[in-house]
């Protein structure tokens, strides 16, 4: 059976057919306004180029930035009711207190406080009040809201009251879509709650979008299940994606890095995605991007998602070279997507990093004769600057002096020298389709983030218990049990608390069980 990976970007839709670890075909088509049209065109073309029939496809994985863009552009978001289970605690700051005004306006001011939060050890802060939740449900129905977010204090430790509140609200507001914060994120009430609210607000859009993606896949004659790739580079099924659109927020850069790793054959590497204006740099460890530990802003909202730790520098193929005597500069200003119109090799009169690469004989693009008369000193100096900036970026990502491969992908990777800081540089083939390939090779994950008391458990027992629970989650999500391995394991003792409380986080990944679907 073949796998198809698709990257539905803002501009282009890329698709790739893979046979095990072999790439059979790669295509790129413009993204259509309705998403489905572009997807179907890409699927048809890639099936044709790979010379396979739809019946031979065993798995379709789609990566999309559609939901991230909806938040950034404040489009297609539903008004949402927020029920915080916290009383009497949690009243000092209302939900969305640190959101941008315009986004808060779109989601609306429908905030309710109730009891049902728990302490760090899982004991209730105050008794759960079912009648109060019922009353809130009546009010939500009266306001005509169909999206509900429920956030409970310490619900990642114990989610019972979020569940009970959801059951009651579902009765009171029959057609509501409800998101529980315990199903979204980690400790940190405001950040987890914000992600939960965004998820609820995106729910209707996700229903529609995922259904039309599925429709597009089906209309191409493909009958196998369709999955979406999520933030950490693993898979979720279409039904999960409809319920948890926020889990696709960072799938773009993740897929690009994982695809690059696949193309080069490395599992541990520094990846540079060199575009027209910027270069994104990240570190791969065991085939997955290293995660950022700080909070992540999405459309101006602080969330505590685990996102790839990627930084950008203002250097790309379209970077403008300004010649100021001995100190020539490259970037951060760029001609961007107008490269093929403004760069010298394309008949324009702006000197870009691409012109330098052509003049130095590193690439054959456009008309090389148009840069033949460039002052050699300028070319040499600009190359030096480019190399220095790339070297700084690579060095910043290194964890140790041990050698690690450097992988360059993206249209601007012609700027890359053969070696950087003494590290070998690889420019794998098909680098432009790294995103789609990253989607095609996605695995299944399970994650646990919980506080354990080490009074009665040993540290090892707590870690083992967390790992067991993470494995169960991965299997429930479709992984074959024997393929599961631990990718992240972390325990952080909680300062100031006697009783040796410790926060344990374990993540496992495994291969998708294709037979089960």
């Amino acid at each position: 059976m073949y796998r198809i990976g698709v990257d539905v970007g803002g501009t282009n839709t890329d698709a790739v057919v893979m046979d095990g670890r072999v790439i059979r075909a790669v295509v790129k088509v413009p993204t259509s306004a309705d998403v489905t049209g572009g997807l179907m065109e890409a699927l048809r073309q890639v099936l044709e180029r790979a010379a396979i029939s739809p019946a031979q496809v065993g798995l379709v994985v789609i990566g999309t930035t559609h939901f991230t863009n909806a938040v950034i552009e404040r489009r297609h978001l539903s008004p949402t009711a927020i029920v915080r289970l916290c009383l009497p605690a949690g009243q000092c700051l209302p939900p969305m207190v640190d959101w941008p005004e315009d986004l808060r306006g779109v989601v609306g001011d429908h905030v309710f406080f109730a009891s049902g939060g728990v302490q760090f050890d899982g004991s209730p802060i105050a008794p759960f009040d079912a009648d109060d939740i019922r009353r809130i449900g009546t009010e939500i129905r009266a306001r005509g809201l169909r999206a509900i977010a429920i956030s409970g204090i310490f619900s990642p430790v114990r989610d019972q009251f979020e569940q009970e509140a959801a059951a009651i609200l579902q009765q009171e507001v029959p057609h509501a879509s409800i998101t529980l914060s315990s199903s979204i994120g980690q400790l940190g009430l405001l950040e987890r709650e914000s992600a939960t609210i965004l998820n609820s607000a995106l729910h209707e859009l996700a229903q529609r979008t995922v259904a039309s993606l599925q429709d597009g896949v089906g209309r191409c004659g493909i009958r196998c299940p369709m999955f979406l790739s999520q933030n950490d580079g693993t898979l979720m099924d279409a039904a999960t994606a409809q319920r948890f659109p926020v889990l696709t927020f960072a799938s773009g850069p993740t897929n690009s890095m994982r695809g690059a790793a696949f193309l080069s054959g490395a599992t541990d590497a520094i990846v540079l995605d060199i575009g027209g204006t910027t270069t994104d740099v990240g570190l791969l460890s065991k085939g997955f991007p290293r995660q950022a530990t700080t909070t992540v802003d999405i459309g101006g909202v602080r969330t505590n998602f685990r996102m790839p730790d990627i930084f950008s520098i203002g250097l790309g193929g379209g970077s403008i070279v300004s010649d100021c005597g001995p100190s020539s500069e490259v970037g951060p200003r760029s001609v961007g997507f107008r490269l093929t119109e403004l760069a010298r090799v394309f008949g324009g009169d702006v000197l870009t990093a691409t012109d330098i690469a052509v003049a130095a004989g590193k690439a054959q693009i456009g008309d090389a004769s148009r840069v033949a008369s460039l002052d050699r000193k300028i070319v040499a100096r600009a190359l030096e600057v480019i190399e220095q900036r790339l070297a700084d970026a690579v060095d910043r990502s290194r964890l140790s002096p041990d050698p690690i491969p450097v992988i360059a992908v993206g249209g601007g990777s012609i700027l890359m020298p053969e070696q950087l800081c003494g590290l070998a540089v690889t420019r794998p083939p098909h680098f432009a389709a790294a995103n789609a390939i990253g989607a095609a090779i996605a695995q299944v994950s399970g994650e646990i983030d919980r506080i354990f008391s080490l009074e009665k458990l040993s540290r090892e027992q707590a870690l083992a218990e967390a790992e067991g629970a993470a494995r169960e989650r991965a299997v429930a999500a479709g992984a074959t049990a024997d393929s599961i391995m631990v990718t992240e394991r972390e325990d952080v003792p909680l300062a100031y608390l006697k009783g040796n409380a410790t926060r344990v986080r374990v993540k496992v990944v495994g291969e998708m069980d294709l037979r089960g679907h």
């Binding site: 009497p88 700051l93 640190d98 302490q119 204090i153 700080t294 964890l399 003792p493 300062a495 006697k498």
Partner: protein, 374 residues
């Protein structure tokens, strides 16, 4: 006296995190609460120690407990006010002003929330000039003030009054177990002190100091340059090195996060190695086989690019950091202070505290800053 603005609070949160030397908890929640109070029309009035009457009643107040709990279990909102009222009832007098017991971390801002609600001023001073892990480690207590009678409150309305503890260490011990019962975080108000004692024993002008540090960071970020040279110039600090974290050990000891990081120099410090020990806060900086700096001087770890403080719980293998040392206040350098907050008090054997050169006399003009938009 001057009124703090929303922008002042923004800068204060950054500066307070830096003076937290790795501990003190994130000021984020307290910052939002202060800014919310200001937007509601409440006032946060800052007064200098000199403006205090000798017989004024000054009280320190703040959050006690695990930072991890306080980012999850947000407060009810009036915990601080209840603690303040309990102290007033016990003393039979009104509190004249509130003060932070430690300027490092979230507790720089906690008293301001209650001060705004009760409409009393906040004193431009604190009990550490930085952050320390235990309650007896304050200048006000070192120079003779007792924390008890102290009040602890929670979100339910429970108010526990510790009428008397035979020592500060005993109060710390009793309060901790009460905090655990209250769910791992609580609000505490220590016994009020006289204005005269605050003038003698509190570290002066630290709120202004933190705001000024925060402004330097914000300014540098806007101009895409490092804030470190200016922070060092303003605070008499020393930029020890830029480094990458190449090893990180962390474990629990009596409820504290204790550990050590190994550093490898980068940029102009490439090739040199160093290490930093911590117990909630950074304790020592060791290079070339000897301890170059230690508590009570401030060892600060900043993100190389943003200039923002990195707390011990966010330290991570591979991080690129700048290590900066800032001199502590003279009040922490006396023999009686060093017995409580010197290296020996943290179980660090055989290290003698060698003070770094004192902070230059701060050129601080409160009136100058008024109306400025940082």
């Amino acid at each position: 006296m001057r009124d703090l603005t929303v922008a002042d609070i923004e800068a204060l949160a950054i500066g307070a995190a830096i003076l937290g030397t790795g501990g003190g908890g994130s000021p984020y929640i307290a910052k939002l609460r202060c800014q919310q109070a200001l937007r509601r029309g409440e006032r946060i009035r800052l007064i200098s120690l000199e403006e205090l009457d000798d017989d004024a009643l000054v009280m320190t107040l703040g959050g006690i407990g695990a930072p991890t709990v306080s980012i999850e279990k947000l407060a009810e909102g009036r915990e601080g006010l209840r603690a303040m009222r309990a102290q007033e009832e016990f003393a039979g007098r009104r509190i004249s002003a509130l003060m932070s017991s430690e300027i490092g971390g979230g507790n720089a801002l906690e008293p301001m929330i209650t001060a705004a609600a009760a409409d009393v001023p906040v004193v431009d001073a604190d009990g550490c000039g930085r952050a320390f892990p235990e309650m007896q480690m304050t200048t006000t207590s070192i120079y003779g003030h007792r924390s008890t009678p102290a009040a602890l409150t929670d979100e339910h309305g429970n108010v526990v009054l510790f009428q008397h503890a035979v020592s500060e260490v005993w109060y710390e011990r009793l309060a901790r177990s009460c905090v655990v019962t209250m769910g791992g975080s609580a609000t505490g108000a220590e016994a009020p002190m006289s204005g005269a004692h605050a003038k003698r024993a509190a570290v002066p002008a630290t709120v202004t100091q933190a705001i000024n540090i925060g402004r330097l960071v914000l300014q540098a970020n806007r101009e895409h340059r490092s804030a470190i040279p200016q922070i060092c110039a303003q605070e008499g600090g020393k930029h020890l090195m830029n480094a990458k974290i190449v090893d990180l050990k962390r474990h629990l000891l009596g409820g504290f996060a204790v550990g050590e990081i190994q550093l490898e120099g980068i940029d102009e410090h490439a090739g040199s190695r160093a290490s930093v020990r911590f117990q909630n806060e950074f304790l020592t900086f060791e290079r070339g086989g000897s301890v170059e700096l230690c508590v009570p001087d401030l060892i600060v770890i900043l993100d190389v690019d943003s200039g923002q403080a990195i707390s011990t719980d966010l330290l991570r293998y591979g991080q690129r950091v700048a290590i900066v040392a800032l001199p502590c206040h003279e009040l922490l350098r006396s023999p009686e202070a060093l017995a409580v907050v010197g290296p020996g008090a943290f179980g660090i054997e055989g290290v003698e505290y060698r003070p770094m050169p004192a902070r230059p006399t701060p050129v601080i003009s409160l009136s100058l800053q008024q109306g400025e938009t940082p």
